[in-house]
């Protein structure tokens, strides 16, 4: 997601805008990415504005980067799991063994 116009903050370093907190990606990966890695993303999203308001621009940028990174990792792991699942089904089908997929 691009954040080309972050809003001016009520506080923080003069003349700077807060880095994106990537909160929406954190919520989406928490809800939809199988592994609860997205929760870590929420932690970093929460750190962004707090550090920025305290004048710690570098820290805020680092938290912003990590929030994004954890959301991406969560999404990648989710996609990999789905691909492995599809591969297992194809292998099971081609080898002729009728394995039950119930409760999978």
């Amino acid at each position: 997601m691009s954040y080309n116009a972050p809003p001016p903050p009520p506080s923080g370093p003069v003349g700077q805008t807060p880095p994106p907190n990537n909160l929406v990606w954190a919520i989406l990966t928490t809800l939809f990415c199988c592994l609860p890695l997205g929760v870590v993303s929420i932690v970093y999203a929460a750190q962004v504005n707090g550090k920025f308001a305290a004048g710690d621009l570098a820290g805020a940028q680092e938290s912003s980067r990590k929030a994004k990174q954890w959301a991406i990792w969560s999404a990648v792991v989710g996609v990999v799991v789905i691909l492995i699942y599809i591969a297992v089904i194809i292998i099971a089908a081609s080898s002729g063994t009728s394995t039950s997929t119930t409760s999978l």
Binding site: M1, A5, P7, L23, V24, I42, A46, N49
Partner: protein
């Protein structure tokens, strides 16, 4: 930030492309979940967290929630994952506000959410995670 600043037109074009890509991907994913029912086993993989631990995570039941919402069945959606029902409107508002900003309007931005609200969200998510797994407390669990 080590990226060199791009011209305004380039930034706008990139933003519009990202918005279009996210919109198409979101609609496609919703269409798949609406059509291929997650209520039937075998259609989608089990969450690895559930498969390994036997516990529900905060996202458990979210595909069934999206499926039910796509059918207009809010009651079933709520039964499967109430947190998802509460958070999805926020995602839609953020998406709409993103589109409005690309059109040059002033609109709300998720980075404007105060830090203490996000910490509160974290507490809610963690409490929800535990509460859905309390035996006998089925109203938060996806079943």
């Amino acid at each position: 930030m080590t990226q060199r600043p791009a011209p305004a037109g380039e930034i706008r074009r990139r933003g519009a492309l990202s918005f279009a890509a996210v919109t198409v991907a979101g609609l496609a994913a919703t269409a798949v979940v609406a059509t291929v029912s997650p209520e039937e086993s075998g259609h989608y993989p089990t969450c690895p967290f559930l498969a390994v631990t036997g516990l529900y995570c905060p996202g458990c039941g979210s595909l069934r929630t999206v499926h039910a919402l796509a059918q207009g069945d809010v009651a079933t959606a709520w039964d499967r994952n109430p947190l998802a029902v509460l958070l999805l409107p926020l995602v839609l508002v953020a998406w709409a506000a993103w589109g409005l900003r690309l059109l040059g309007r002033r609109a709300w931005h998720p980075s404007r959410v105060p830090a203490r609200w996000i910490w509160a969200l974290l507490v809610v998510v963690l409490a929800y995670w535990v509460a859905r797994n309390v035996p006998g407390w089925t109203w938060l669990s996806p079943s």
